[in-house]
């Protein structure tokens, strides 16, 4: 049972990290043109926000939780379960980034959740 905490950490820390990086990039603003110097300027602007460092820390945590989970479970079990990040990503983007999630996207997300449930039930 405690090993399920690793799966939860992969999904929650991974999704949280992506949301934080997304927020940092939105705060930094988009580059005016796709010249390498403009892109670098945007990246450095994002690195000056605390959200970016929080996001990097959370994504690193998710990576080490993935390594921990892979030491216990089969890869054909762990990787499909990480698809739950689509569910938490949609919830997080709605609540945290105030994005609109369309009905079609919710349908896909529900299918992902149902598929992960089947993978859990098929865990021999």
């Amino acid at each position: 049972m405690p090993h399920y905490a690793l799966l939860a950490l992969i999904v929650l820390a991974g999704t949280g990290g992506e949301l934080c990086v997304s927020r940092a990039m939105k705060e930094a603003g988009e580059p005016f043109h796709l010249h390498p110097s403009a892109i670098l300027k945007t990246i450095f602007a994002a690195l000056r926000t605390p959200w970016m460092w929080l996001g990097i820390g959370m994504m690193a945590t998710a990576f080490f939780a993935l390594l921990g989970a892979l030491s216990v479970y089969n890869v054909s079990f762990v990787v499909p379960v990480t698809a739950l990040s689509y569910v938490f990503g949609a919830l997080g983007s709605t609540l945290f980034l105030r994005e609109q999630v369309t009905r079609g996207r919710w349908l896909g997300i529900l299918m992902v959740a149902f598929g992960v449930t089947l993978v859990f039930l098929g865990k021999s």
Binding site: R23, L66, L67, G108, V112
Partner: protein, 141 residues
């Protein structure tokens, strides 16, 4: 689909990059799985044991091969995004779950039950639907 300045279609290159993505991403995860199985029990406490565990993990060849494979995936993904639309490239990720199960079975001898296969198929369909929805830009910050 973009064309190069001389009017030549870039579709073969994009398909090549997508093929790399479909193989390198799942292969990276399978190699990480193989490496972590080789490492064995993980100790995170007390701190000296945590350091020893870290040294053991990053002293395993499969872990570095897995990380290299995932980096190849990221580079191929970024190059594909620079040549084709996000909505064209992203649905490919839905097939990765199936490829992981296949590679896990072939390379690591993992048993993949029918119920797990069904779950992976439903997840792939769900991810495909999510990735085909129109991306929206929201400006709140």
């Amino acid at each position: 689909m973009k064309r190069s300045k001389d009017g030549v279609s870039r579709k073969p290159l994009i398909l090549f990059l997508i093929a790399i993505m479909m193989f390198a991403g799942p292969l990276g995860n399978v190699l990480l799985g193989k490496g972590m199985k080789q490492v064995g029990s993980l100790w995170v406490w007390p701190p000296p044991k945590l350091i020893a565990t870290g040294i053991k993990i990053f002293g395993t060849g499969s872990i570095w091969l897995g990380i290299a494979s995932l980096m190849i995936f990221i580079v191929a993904y970024m190059l594909a995004l620079s040549l084709a639309d996000y909505s064209y490239v992203q649905p490919v990720s839905s097939f990765a779950y199936g490829v992981v199960a296949l590679l896990g079975h072939v390379m690591l001898g993992e048993y993949v039950s029918w119920l797990r296969c069904a779950g992976i198929t439903v997840i792939s369909m769900g991810v495909f639907i999510v990735s085909r929805t129109k991306p929206q830009t929201t400006e709140h910050f």
